[in-house]
Symmetry: C2
């Protein structure tokens, strides 16, 4: 027997319709590539996203055709989010931090037909366009009078001229909610990048779950600054959560330094911000150096990589900002877990609560997870046993784009490549990436655990632990350290810092000082590059 | 192009799976019909709901067959919620406050096959069973040794014996998310009751929206007491929101008096409670009479009828409890609007915020609404123009059960029967039920406005405004008043209270004192019965 409720597809256009109708005057503030601060609201964003839809119709794009962006977080990018997906095309957010060759490979693989880009990425587009065989239209996200005449990019037009030619009146089409809405390629430390193709349904369910109080807790009372880029897994879904709730949005544009982020937070009354640890490190550094304090920021969500305990302590204790630890993947839209407390934790003191908060968090409703051993047998949720982490749910990938039906799933579950423990309360803790675990004498050493200890040293700015071949133990850990400006540290000082903080056999065998640790397009440490850099390194005594 | 995300149906069983796995030890506390306090948790509820599923299999019930309940809020009722719907049957919550003849009509219309009932409703079941032609199985929600032997109900068995015979291991079936999950009949002040048939999809989407920070704001940190009955539109969806978030649940059972509710809140640390105004009136009365204060309650949601401003003031100002005004209908699962503030309201002072809070609230994402005139033309959102309120969305009814495809919709919208204004920020305010509006000399008088003034009088316990035939003005309002215990009021004192609070022509023509105003099965004032009671009344001068 079928229920007798109204049949209504879950479509991204309904988010913008809702924001326009119920939160028309809620503000969207952007620091632009042009350097100035731009103010608009959902009513205008809705009108302009409808102009985008007309513009794509006018270009002759069909249902499901891909429209690529190379853009910072800003209002025009937001208009593309809704205009492209709302009209039935697929928004493909390219990561401008990738190597031009990778961008070409990805754009061709995705068969992008349009590329919209911020003027700061003009050099990239000039470098790649000749090799992007499927792109027919290039749009620069700027005013008509800012468009250079001699870019060498055929048919380049300005965004404002393009959309300005069209009506703000548009009837969003209705179609199957399982239709593709957007795509994002994983940066792919090994092999070719892989495309994840989200659907309208997966995006809306993810937005519902993401806005819940146990996840990012987003309401019309919030003023949110997504530092996490809109080209990185749809800024963790925040643009969709924002339209679903009508919250105020503040976009940082290209200015991700501590001073710029801090000033924007203060001037716009930001109470919630989202980003990766490396960006927060810069922000905290700015605050510390300049004796500043947040006056409106109440919560941050930190994901993309494990948040070092010292950073979480600093946010919570020094600045009174609640840190939500989160974990996810491009293949998961991306939210999998968020670390929020339970009713039972209200009795705990601050230090005990911090122990809970340091884990990556609990699964949000919709995502199921399990840890398994090498034989795929499920392991207990005891907070100690670690195993390969597998997930499933309606916003988890089923197969990669263009992979001809090859399934990455194992018995219906997606293998995350992370190694984790899960405790009896369902709190998951990543112990390592499976490829970063250090196998020493038959035991596993978590590279993250070692890094967290090093990061707690007051003179250490960044630290990476990697395994090195060892004739007797198979692998032994070393710690690669970047010191803070003006600080000098010795090998022995760093190693002495480990004493009493971990088992003796888990202490690194050596310390390597470097000027910088290579970061990937999403701000994560690139250990594969680090291993390349240290190709000629030999362990002491090995 | 179809997205490449995992295909997973939205099923009620997934809520209980999640609660069991991620929040197994979160408590469910019930005051039982037996009088004692019973404690269990999601892990045990999950196990026992699986026993229910086996029990229904054993009875030979097919997919979509109806299982009725006549039960208070309690853990066994919760087990039936998940065991019945999870196994593919339809949970039909009968309202025990209806007249036995109505119960018979509804049970026969729904073709219920099983009836599970609390022992306090044994007399009802004894009165109706001979006429319930489709019910084959009767289950008393009690221990085997509490089952009377001479009830006259054929084949009556105890719930504990019934489920105790079965395994706690059960594989929830997977099926189409549009399948019917549960049903509820509208109490129907005119005509026959009408059945609303919810689906798994509508229930899960409603739970997502209901738990959002802009709606009921439910998380694993909450301890929730649903005073609103589980036989009244699924307790506003709270059992589903609870399983989705793993919050602690506290059930009041049959004890709805102020003292019982208050004591349960205090002993269990309840921070959020939900109910209709009449129940809160009793609770506030108890607190005032006994000089008590809430020590843990932080928020209440009040719906089912407009919350009198005096009650909202008392909660907020006297007791520091935030009141969320909400509005919905059986046909809407039921949530339509919840009154939460926006970012822009943070600047307002408490009195200005209260003006916003007194409205029924903003539409939550998923529900669209509009107001129309007699020609179905949409009216402006100006906060002044009132019109018939229409709604649509994925948890709004499309047709009534057994109505042979007759659609109650108007151009795809459901006409709520309410008259409302909507302001520029999307806040909706019910001005009246369309059938309760008083038409006086070509102008409309809102019966709710008149009642709110009377309810603010310190000597008034309850007040109802109804229109009476008038030879010159067509209708004129009178106010029917129940005074507080020990208070004596005169007609002139009540009428004098209106002076300066409303336009002179909106002041009632007369005051009628009664001992009690008839309340319906859901605690709402029954104006149709009141009109019957006053059948012989004549207006002064009419």
């Amino acid at each position: 027997m079928i229920g007798l409720m109204q049949s209504q597809q879950l479509l991204i256009s309904s988010l913008m319709d809702f924001a326009e109708r119920h939160h028309g005057d809620a503000e969207i503030v952007s620091r632009r590539v042009e350097g100035d601060i731009h103010r608009t609201n959902y009513r205008q964003i809705a009108a302009r996203s409808k102009q985008v839809a007309h513009g794509l119709d006018h270009m002759g794009l069909g249902f499901g055709d891909r429209v690529a962006t190379l853009a910072w977080n800003g209002y025009r990018h937001l208009e593309l989010y809704f205009g492209v997906s709302g009209s039935g095309r697929v928004l493909h957010t390219l990561n401008p931090r990738l190597h031009p060759e990778q961008i070409v490979w990805i754009a061709n693989h995705a068969q992008d037909q349009v590329l919209c880009f911020d003027m700061s990425f003009l050099p990239i587009v000039q470098a790649v366009h000749a090799n992007c065989s499927t792109i027919k239209h290039y749009v620069a996200l700027c005013d008509a009078n800012k468009l250079p005449t001699d870019t060498g990019i055929p048919g380049l037009q300005s965004y404002e001229a393009w959309i300005g030619a069209h009506s703000t009146d548009y009837h969003w089409p209705e179609f199957d909610e399982d239709s593709a809405s957007s795509m994002c390629y994983t940066s792919g430390t090994t092999g070719n990048p892989k495309g994840v193709l989200y659907s309208h349904r997966s995006t809306l369910l993810h937005a519902f779950a993401g806005a819940l109080p146990d996840a990012l807790n987003i309401s019309a009372r919030d003023c949110i600054l997504p530092v996490v880029p809109m080209f990185h897994v749809n800024a963790w879904g925040l643009p969709y959560c924002a339209a679903m709730t009508g919250c105020k949005l503040v976009f940082p544009g290209p200015s991700m330094d501590g001073k710029s982020i801090f000033e924007l937070m203060e001037s716009e009354g930001v109470n919630f911000a989202a980003g990766v640890p490396t960006v927060w490190q810069m922000l905290l550094g700015y605050l510390q150096s300049n004796q500043r304090r947040f006056s409106t920021l109440k919560r941050t969500v930190i994901g993309g990589a494990a948040c070092p305990p010292a950073m979480m302590q600093s946010f919570q204790v020094d600045y009174g900002v609640e840190v939500l630890h989160a974990w996810g993947m491009t293949e998961m839209s991306p939210l999998g877990t968020v670390c929020t407390l339970k009713n039972k934790h209200a009795k705990l003191d601050a230090a005990q609560q911090m122990q809970v908060r340091l884990k990556q968090g609990r699964g949000i409703f919709g995502v199921d997870m399990k840890i398994v051993d090498d034989n795929r047998a499920e392991l207990p949720w005891d907070g100690k046993t670690s195993g390969d982490l597998l997930v499933k749910g309606p916003w988890v990938v089923s197969e990669y784009f263009g992979s001809d039906g090859a399934s990455p799933l194992v018995d219906g579950w997606f293998p995350t490549g992370d190694v984790a423990t899960i405790d009896a309360d369902g709190y998951m803790q990543i112990t390592d990436r499976s490829k970063d675990v250090i196998k020493s004498g038959g035991e596993w050493i978590s590279s993250i655990d070692v890094e967290n200890i090093a990061m707690a040293h007051p003179g250490v700015a960044m630290a990476a632990c990697i395994g090195m071949k060892h004739p007797k133990w198979d692998e032994r850990p070393i710690i690669v350290v970047v010191t803070k400006p003006g600080v000098t540290l010795t090998r022995d000082e760093v190693l002495a810092f480990f004493v009493g903080k971990t088992a003796k056999w888990q202490v690194p065998d050596d310390v390597v000082f470097v000027d910088a640790i290579p970061l990937g397009g999403t701000g994560k440490m690139q250990k594969s590059k680090l291993r390349d850099m240290l190709r000629d390194y030999r362990l002491p005594g090995a």
